[in-house]
Symmetry: C2
Subunit: 422 residues, 2 copies
């Protein structure tokens, strides 16, 4: 069972958009036990599409295409497909009704150009698009299935999840691939590797990958076997064996996000949180509130970018700012305490630092960040050096603050970090 | 002049990471006049790498590979390359010194595994990595150049910008590709197409693409010709001709971000801003502070997620919340006024709404968002329906708020939207 994902669009080849569809599709296919052999991005020209179809034909079980199905003139995939499959056309009445309805419920007259979206090659099965106007299409040729979907991510996702997956499931029973990923924060790839090298050398036929991203390294264990060989249990056991070695850094599994993990801890213990952000500029707050339901434990944030705001909104002592500077242990502590009182929460975290790329001094270089934590148990602040890249700096500081909070809550609950993950 | 980008790593094929390197590289190559023919993602196995090299060999002028050069055991690209180019090995002393220094300035002992990073195939030119430990490599075979770089984005970018680009420039003089993109906000793809269809039909050999993303549609005009045909002027003229038709929506050009555009307007007019965010949860603040230098015009934000915070921090009247609800015109206005006073700024924007996916009612369905604007000239709020998807909802609301602010400032400065873009 092997698949290729083909994304179509000049906007990808000139780098104007980042292709996020492929990663999402790859995860879905993986869950179905279908291995993605490659991902290819090509131009939205008839020639490039035909060439890609020629190359994929009969070598693969499944070809998934996204992009080039919108109503506007630069969208060409549907015509290239009809040609390649030597197909006639018909107007699909269900699609036409959907397109008409799409506009009528928005109170907009249907632009003429959208009527053409109901024309489909007559040798494909239409995959209904419940979120937009361009239909998906399912073709078969010899042993290969070809699926074409629009490139707009939420339309593509809706078609794939609701229409394509059920059809794929009924067609294929895959070889089993099992992944288990441990999410870590606060340790680099090389150091992590040294800590777990003995364990890694005993993995046998399981495969290990280190996946670094800003402020985080993921450890992925992969097993591949025929169905029914207890693969999941073997992968789980190997993960269990490594956890005690990295309990200081691991915070969750698979696609877990630190903001989600922290949210669950707060929620299940009936605790509330507020944040006081200077150098992170609202990014911690954005992470926390990106989680649906966060209003039950998150009261809000004071993003105090100016010194006056630190004083007026958080009650930071101007004499402290004068004496120690805005980027200091004392100010970080006062910010955390101030926001906890102001927003009446159990916990508070604060950040104050120099995000860069400018603004550093010899004693406080760019990347210097103080993170404060406050609760009824204690208030303190820790200092970090986050590097000189603004965007990375902001993200690293935010993740470090969430990890510190996670550890502080577990400490106060009397739960060890090893227990926390088991 | 054609190029292929090959990204190597199972983490891409199982969808665990989104490949952002390719988009960045594609933009760089485009600027050099090198067209990207395709982008391919493959497994980090010896076989897949050799197959990709076989397929690319002699058909292309340039092959750029990223990924698989780190110190850990899943990184295999360097060995696969040495085999394919039938190369011996040598220890590169400059790389070794860099790796040693990388660890010594961080006060960390060099892990043994990193010493291997100084071993390089002896028929490549090393491309120095100033940001990390894995060197880049430049191979040539027949007419094709092969460049291999690590997959960590900031290392890859540093190698490509500082080492590869100068070498590529001296080797190639490309055909000319000119792009000009108009950034729009607040209008859908189909409606936009209707407004500009006459203009579009007269574009001649220039190419137009509609590039929708969440809350924004980009209009890209592309011209391709031999050097010296006045291509840039023709593209610029066509863009100039369409602007008056879409002045209500256009906010900038090329890679301009709305938060950047708004920041420049504030800065150049000596104006200051604060924000009061409920449903956007700090995302507006994050966008604004992602711009370096924003502290000169941005004082901060009150992210008031709870009703108590709206009252205590922003002085919203509890009777208003009781009577009209937290998601209401009145509360949006009080939030904007409150934060403007609290943070002592010229302008303030506020958001209050139901981000979803839960929490809607019949009279206030998910996606209902009030956006408030306050300045000494006026305070008002407008209502929007942003849809049911939380993440999209937050981003759309944030962009809409920034666009409203942009228009309000221009209005108060007596500058028309048509003048603003010329």
């Amino acid at each position: 069972m092997n698949a290729r994902i083909i994304t179509i669009g000049d906007e990808i080849l000139i780098g104007q958009i980042v292709d996020t569809n492929s990663a999402w599709l790859a995860r879905q296919l993986n869950d179905l036990g279908i291995a993605v052999e490659s991902i290819v991005s090509i131009s939205d020209s008839r020639e490039a599409i035909h060439k890609a179809l020629d190359e994929a034909d009969s070598k693969l079980d499944l070809v998934i295409m996204t992009g080039g199905l919108g109503p506007t003139k630069d969208d060409i995939t549907k015509h290239a497909l009809a040609e390649w499959f030597e197909s006639g056309w018909n107007e699909d009445q269900e699609v036409l009704q959907r397109v008409e309805k799409h506009f009528s419920i928005r109170g907009i007259a249907m632009p003429d150009v959208n009527r053409g979206q109901a024309m489909v090659p007559d040798n494909c099965v239409v995959l209904t698009n419940e979120s937009g106007t361009a239909p998906g299409m399912w073709f078969e040729r010899n042993r290969t299935v070809f699926i074409s979907m629009p490139g707009v991510p939420f339309e593509m996702k809706s078609i794939f999840a609701n229409q394509a997956i059920p059809k794929l499931k009924s067609r294929y029973i895959g070889k089993q691939i099992v992944h288990r990923t441990i999410m870590t924060q606060g340790i680099g790839e090389s150091t992590l590797m040294e800590i777990i090298s003995d364990w890694e050398n005993n993995l046998g036929d399981l495969k290990l990958a280190y996946l670094p991203s800003v402020g985080s390294v993921r450890l992925r264990v992969t097993g591949l076997s025929d169905v029914g060989e207890g693969l999941q249990a073997r992968v789980n056991d190997s993960v269990k064996a490594v956890l005690p070695l990295i309990a200081d850094y691991a915070f969750g599994f698979d696609e877990a996000k630190l903001e989600e993990v922290v949210g669950e801890i707060l929620k299940s213990n009936n605790l509330t949180l507020s944040t006081a952000e200077s150098c992170t500029g609202g990014y911690i707050s954005h992470l926390i509130t990106s989680i649906s339901g966060s209003s039950s434990y998150y009261n809000g944030s004071a993003v105090t970018y100016s010194n006056e705001a630190k004083q007026n909104v958080l009650g930071v002592d101007p004499a402290y700012i004068e004496k120690f500077g805005a980027v200091s242990e004392e100010v970080a502590m006062q910010m955390a305490e101030g926001v906890r009182q102001q927003f009446q929460t159990d916990y508070a975290i604060s950040t104050t630092g120099i995000a860069g790329p400018d603004g550093g001094t010899e004693s406080k270089p760019v990347g210097t960040v103080w993170i404060g934590i406050s609760s009824k148990h204690a208030t303190y602040a820790l200092k970090y050096s986050m590097g000189t890249h603004r965007e990375r700096n902001i993200r690293k500081s935010a993740l470090q603050a969430l990890q510190l909070l996670r550890k502080e809550i577990f400490k106060n609950l009397g739960i060890s970090l090893k227990e926390a993950l088991s």
